[in-house]
């Protein structure tokens, strides 16, 4: 089966499978990443997010399937890879490097590198540039990655859980600078994260992966309101949700709280007239319900 490649596709993946021994990390994945949009790549640990990004950035070979980046195969393709920046959770640097060495070498890898912007970000994150990298805290290491990812201005930038150890203030700085700079220099960004509540409003497109398969691939706007929680007396709730797909069910005593799909205006009015309360479901809750995960699998943002 062949899929037509959309003209604004920066990445096109079809039938992509990756096995490690008997474990299937990605199972025949079809997905498109669109030019100049901020994408969220969401899912539980071990769902296949990092594997997918590694295959797209030619850090590993697929078992089956096809990957196209800017219309070409990325494997050993320097012309493609110099337009790609991949920021991962634990980047390794040469043993004897200081922070300033990272920023001195970055312009050689990224042709759009903005040294002034990097300087501003270094000040924003209060990064000590003379300090040896092995003496940095976890948060300072993450700050290096975030700064490289932003100042590289690569046409295709991946942030794979970029903020381990970054506190709430530093994460907000990252989101603010990302939005500002993206507005001035639109580019394709893929943000892989567990902190869904924090980034939900930044995303234009959401891809959710679970057990190696794509579970949601949708515009962020379309996902808002795609699920609703109905709360009220158990028998009234049960009657209302009777023939609907239930995403989640909770209850205490005679009360029930049931999450179902999208309700239209008439259905909402009917629910309110029946004395039920309706509450919206956040992207994070939606992902938790759809991936059948306990909420403990996702960090709760402050």
């Amino acid at each position: 089966m062949t899929h037509p490649i959309a003209p604004d596709a920066v990445v096109h993946v079809s039938g992509l499978t990756k096995r490690f021994g008997s474990f299937t990390a990605l199972d025949s994945v079809d997905v498109t990443i669109t030019r100049d949009k901020i994408h969220g790549l969401l899912g539980r640990n071990g769902a296949g997010k990092t594997t997918l990004m590694q295959l797209i950035t030619a850090q590993d070979f697929p078992t089956h399937g096809d990957v196209r980046v800017f219309g070409e195969t990325p494997m050993e393709n320097a012309g493609v890879l110099r337009h790609v920046c991949f920021i991962k959770e634990s980047q390794k640097y040469p043993e004897d490097w200081r922070v300033k060495h990272v920023f001195a070498s970055a312009p050689h890898f990224f042709e759009n590198w903005d040294a002034d912007f990097a300087e501003r970000l270094i000040a924003d994150f209060r990064l000590p540039t003379r300090r040896p990298i092995k003496k940095l805290s976890r948060g300072q290491l993450s700050a290096i990655g975030v700064i490289v990812g932003l100042a590289s201005r690569a046409p295709l930038t991946f942030f794979d859980e970029p903020y381990l150890g970054l506190d709430a203030v530093a994460r907000q700085t990252f989101y603010d600078r990302l939005l500002e700079d993206y507005a001035d220099h639109p580019r394709t960004v893929v943000l892989s994260t567990h902190l869904i509540d924090e980034v939900a409003n930044l995303l234009e497109h959401v891809i959710v992966i679970d057990e190696g398969r794509i579970l949601i691939d949708s515009a962020a706007d379309d996902l808002r309101g795609s699920a609703t929680t109905v709360v009220g007396m158990r028998r009234v709730v049960d009657a209302f949700v009777a023939d609907r797909e239930v995403l989640h069910r909770d209850g205490v005593g005679g009360l029930a709280s049931v999450t179902v799909g999208r309700l239209d205006d008439a259905e909402r009015r009917a629910a309110l007239e029946a004395g039920l309360e309706l509450s919206p479901v956040s992207l994070q809750q939606l992902v938790v319900h759809r991936t059948h995960a306990g909420s403990a699998a996702f960090e709760v943002s402050a």
Binding site: K37, I38, Y175, D176, L179, E180, Y182, A183, D184, N201, L202, L203, E204, A220, D221, R224, G225, T228, L272, E273, G275, S279, P280, V281, S282
Partner: protein, 120 residues
């Protein structure tokens, strides 16, 4: 500021409408740019743009080439008329439903509104 359950671009459009209705942005003056809205509300610029475009399409805003977006003449009156039309469904019906649930009669409700309405 941004709430769940409602598309963000709709909320951005409503926020600008509110600013026009209460006079925070006057007719024939410039509204902030899409990127300024995006930075202020911490939302995706494309989403902010969608909210602004919605108001361009219904004639609340208009575009001056190379300068930006401006509030159209007469926009405030048109928005007031639209919101008055929505008032019944948005406010009156839920009010009456809640009043019925609590066995508040229409007369009692009318009295409450009169009393509240005369508060300074």
């Amino acid at each position: 500021m941004i709430e769940e359950g409602k598309p963000i671009f709709v909320q951005i459009a409503e926020q600008i409408e509110n600013d026009v209705i209460d006079g925070a942005i006057e007719e024939e003056t410039q509204v902030p740019s899409t990127n300024e809205f995006a930075a202020f509300y911490r939302i995706n610029p494309a989403t902010a743009g969608k909210g602004v475009n919605r108001l361009v399409e219904d004639g609340t805003l208009y575009k001056k080439r190379g300068i930006g977006m401006f509030v159209a003449a007469g926009a405030r009156e048109r928005l007031l008329a639209k919101r008055r039309g929505e008032f019944r469904a948005e406010y009156l019906e839920p009010l009456l439903a809640e009043a019925a649930k609590l066995s508040i009669t229409t007369d009692q409700l009318t009295d409450m509104i009169r009393t509240e309405g005369t508060q300074p």
